[in-house]
Amino acid sequence: MGFWNKGLIRNVDWWLVACYIVLIFIGWMNIYASIHSSGTESIFDLTGRSGKQFIWMGASIVSAILILTVINPRIYDSISLPVYLLTIVLLVAVIFLGTEVKGSRSWFEFGPIRFQPAEISKISTSLLIATVMSQFGFKMNRARDFLTVAAAILVPMLIIIAQSETGSALVYVGFIFVLYREGLSGWLIFLIGMFIALFILTLTASPYAAVMVLAIVASFCNSSYTGAMKRWWTAYLPAFAVLGGLPFLLDHIASVTGGEESFAGRTEPLYILLAACAAVIPFLLFRAYRKRKPFTLLAAGSFIAGVILVFSTEFIFENVLQDHQRQRIEVLLGMKEDPSGVGYNVNQSMIAIGSGGLAGKGFLHGTQTTYGFVPEQSTDFIFCTVGEEWGFLGAASVILIYVFLIGRIIVQSEKSTESFTRIYGYCVASCIFMHLFINIGMTMGIMPVIGIPLPFVSYGGSSLLAFTVLLFIFIALKANDRHNFR
């Protein structure tokens, strides 16, 4: 094909390329820093991880150049479906043919090279989403269109969950931002967020508190949406105040009238609350039906779904989640304290980052990450090394580089004249964002321990290569933009 684009130098977004180059070099240095105590002499030593990463960096840059110069970006739109289907085949095949690594079958092994189909799947899914949604006449609010996109996202996600790689599957949740950008109702995101909050609230506080919060939020949304805020302030809020005081009141009565055995002592406040709701909801629904207010129906439906979730939380937690996932959530929510068990990694990781202080200990002078206190220090926990040796200034800068990269992708996507490019760009931004937030959040104890890499920085060839391809397809698409008016 040759050089299909004469204006390449002018049209490539050099800001993105610069961010990319900076990040992979930061990764390389920190991989060296995290392993140099174990006898690796030089950063280029090919027996060490930094040397291997250097080779992968070379391979990635070559791939990036090929994507920019050789491959015509026009073909992505047309090959996305076959590529997607091929990836699905690989994803399924790996369950049966893959090598088992740390309890999950998600790796193919060819001699010295290992790769995870899940890495490719991010690219192929992004391409397919872009293809589907950029089709002429696609409407997010039309059920058939929405279900097509949802299936494109959910199929690889579910297969990956079947591989016991729940962490990698979580990244796909990020595609919801793309759907939002393309017109999905914001209420859906709100609903999902709400349900996650309910799940956590039920586990950490009590089902009573969860249902209480659910009722307040549902009624508030309903009232504000239907323009009946006055009634909310005068009727709902006092009612909630009374109900909120109910457990304390019952406790008090029980202690006055004679302990656990009395009527008050045996009454569960939760059931009183639910009885009150059950009395009010039919009345509300009837009025909504009379006055044609579909939102109220929706709110009531969500409320009932939420209550069911609250009651099934324990079941999900005990029976659906796997042991290690349950433990990780328990540790994250502070329900269990175990600095040497599941929480050990996080605790050591936070110690390492915390000991960096403002300016850090300096390149290769970290003590925590180099002793092997932090496990997986060159892969998933690479940010510890950054935090310890480069301090707050360095670590915050790294985060800001990512934010700039993601923000730049979004802005460039918006500027694009082609909806394929725009949607693909949003997919790329979402992927990088999910990895960034989960990975760094995990090292600082605000996310459960989910083994996903930090894009461009973590050690690992297939991950680096996949992110490079993911990003440079966008750069290529964008560079080609103006010359391909439809």
Binding site: S37, I353, G354, S355, Q368, Y371, G372, F373, A395, G441
Partner: protein, 613 residues
């Protein structure tokens, strides 16, 4: 609509970034606790082990001391290429052993991480010096000083006890006091006085750099803690006597206990066969041999074996009879080769008849004590025989029988003395009479007492009516013993009844050959030994040979109990052994006229009479 959705997403991105950077700010700048934890991570605490307290004997001889050995420590992460053959040669180990160890470390490399592990324990200083000269060739290997037990005197294996590395069970039992790698006393004095002997561990703090190399001492060692050595302890044991006692008991199964009557201090406590001190020093490697030994050398017969006392117990019955008023020193009973009741007979040996109390002790007449015991039980004072037996039981217990004496020796057992309730259970309520239990009169039947009990009985008679609780630790330096060991323990028998018993014991030994005295073999000129023989039935074979004695008669210095399983008559083995021990203690050597006896005892071997369990 779409434009402001882009902005909302960008704002969301900004918020997410703010959360991450805010969190970063909190743990790196605001919260200092992570920095403190980090410094703990990079400090290396090296334990300094204290030297264990020394155990002296009553004369200041060292029974248990310490010697320096070295443990070879490996830090697998620091081990590079090295000459395995040279290392094996220096340490005297086989190549396979080293290879296995290194492979083991490699397999467990994740678990071991940057820590050090012990590869070889207790290298001798000579071996260590050889290693130290070439240590530079073996990075990752180093020696750690460690003091271990040394026994300059081959005496008292069983009573000293052994020291070994604590296991997980031991650590759990003593919450917070021990960690893996510590040593603790497991039996004997080492266990009983663990708290005094062990001392306090210290530590030295080092800093490591980011290459995991120890860089320097933390603040020049000002935060280090010195190890505090354990307290020395003085035992009441006489090391020479203990050693001599062990020689006398060699190749015999049984026990030999000597007590100083005026203090209750245990001079000698032999359980044979016992544990050699060489074995104690390296207990771990002999452990399975000891467990599998059919003669159970770990079993301390002196304080744990409940034996029937045999005729020695007649002394107790005689004293009780006098106290109860059913017997006077002048009371005479006939004996014609035994005591007849109903169609039964309790046999006796040939001697003249009738006998009075002194003579009954001297000649150990069985019939005499059947009469005595029967009159104790069939006493009109009491409503029933049961009540009389309970009274008798009470007397016997006041001598320390049937219960733990309360010595400071661990694992002491109490033995058994029957009471009325016991026989009611065996024969039915009231369905037994004096003749049913008549064998109690001569120390047979349902009586079990340890050699320590017998020695204590001897000590009580030597003191004419009281004893001090036998004990094995003396006051010294920082160690004081319980005040109960300084209190006289009186029996329920009046002290005025004891002299006649002492006289009988004197005559048993010193009446000369042919007089009918049972223990004339124990006589030593000028020592005034008073003794009583016993021959206890042993259902597993030949009778047990028993002898208790004290000397001199006035102001006794030593009271001894000897118990030899399957030794037949008391005069055959137990009496010579006990009297030789007394002679050794009081005279310092064995007189030439008794050398033949010493030779006979030292050469005597009764092991083939014993059927191991």
């Amino acid at each position: 609509m779409t434009a402001d959705r882009k902005d909302r997403l960008l704002i969301g991105l900004g918020i997410a970034a703010a959360i991450l950077i805010g969190r970063l700010f909190v743990i790196q700048i605001i919260d200092t606790s992570y920095k403190i934890d980090a410094s703990n991570n990079s400090m290396v605490y090296q334990t300094i082990y204290p030297t264990r307290g020394i155990i002296h004997d009553r004369n200041g001889k060292i029974l248990v001391g310490n010697k320096i050995t070295y443990d070879l420590i490996v830090t697998p992460k620091e081990v590079g290429e090295f000459d395995t053959l040279a290392l094996c040669r220096v340490l005297g180990i086989s190549e396979e052993f080293l290879r296995e160890k290194m492979e083991d470390y490699y397999r467990n490399r994740r678990k071991i991480g940057y820590r050090s592990v012990v590869m070889l324990k207790q290298l001798s200083p000579e071996t260590y010096l050889k290693f130290a000269e070439v240590a530079y060739r073996f990075p990752g290997f180093r020696g750690q000083e460690r003091s271990v037990r040394e026994y300059p005197f081959n005496a008292g294996g069983n009573l000293l006890g052994y020291v070994s590395e604590v296991d997980q069970k031991y650590i759990d039992r003593h919450k917070g006091e021990y960690t893996a790698g510590d040593y603790a006393g497991m039996t004997g004095i080492e266990a009983a006085r663990e708290k005094e002997l062990r001392g306090e561990k210290g530590y030295a703090i080092f800093l490591r750099n980011s290459h995991n190399k120890i860089e320097s001492r933390y603040r020049n060692g000002e935060m280090d803690k010195e190890a505090i050595p354990g307290n020395d302890i003085t035992a009441t044991i006489d090391a020479d006597l203990q050693k001599y006692g062990q020689m006398l008991m060699q190749n015999k199964v049984g026990s030999l206990v000597a007590i100083e009557p005026s203090t209750g201090e245990i001079l000698t406590l032999v359980s044979s066969p016992g544990i050699d001190v060489d074995v104690l020093a390296d207990f771990g490697s002999h452990y399975s041999d000891i467990l599998n030994d059919p003669y159970k050398p770990m079993f301390n017969r002196a304080v744990q074996a409940p034996y029937p006392p045999g005729s020695v117990f007649k002394l107790v019955n005689g004293l009780i009879g006098m106290q109860e008023g059913v017997l006077t020193p002048e009371t005479e009973y006939p004996c014609h080769m035994g005591y007849y009741f109903g169609n039964s007979r309790l046999g006796c040996h040939a001697h003249r008849s009738p006998l009075d109390l002194e003579e009954s002790i001297m000649m150990s007449c069985n019939a005499y004590y059947c009469y005595v015991f029967r009159s104790i039980l069939e006493n009109g004072k009491y409503a029933s025989i049961g009540e009389a037996l309970d009274k008798w039981d009470e007397y016997v217990r006041s001598f320390g029988f049937g219960r733990k004496l309360g010595s400071d020796f661990p694992a002491e057992l109490g033995g058994t003395i029957p009471d009325a309730a016991y026989y009611d259970k065996v024969y039915g309520d009231g369905a037994w009479k004096a003749t049913t239990v008549i064998s109690l009169s001569i120390g047979q039947g349902e009586i079990g007492c340890t050699p320590l009990h017998l020695a204590n009985l001897c000590s009580t008679i030597a003191n004419r009516g009281y004893y001090y609780i036998p004990h094995i630790i003396k006051d010294s330096g920082n160690v004081t013993i319980d005040s109960k060991y300084r209190e006289k323990q009186f029996t329920l028998v009046d002290t005025s009844y004891f002299p006649v018993v002492v006289e009988g014991m004197y005559r048993a030994v010193n009446s000369g050959y042919g007089s009918g005295g049972t223990a004339t073999v124990a006589a030593v000129k000028g020592l005034d030994i008073c003794g009583k023989t016993g021959t206890a039935q042993n259902p597993r074979g030949d009778d047990n040979s028993v002898f208790i004695c004290f000397a001199p008669k006035d102001n006794p210095k030593i009271a001894v109990a000897a118990y030899v399983e399957h030794g037949s008559f008391g005069a055959r083995w137990a009496a010579p052994i006990a009297s030789l021990l007394v002679e050794k203690y009081l005279s310092g050597e064995i007189s030439s006229s008794r050398k033949y006896l010493e030779t006979r005892v030292l050469e005597g071997n009764l092991m083939d009479k014993v059927k191991p369990e």
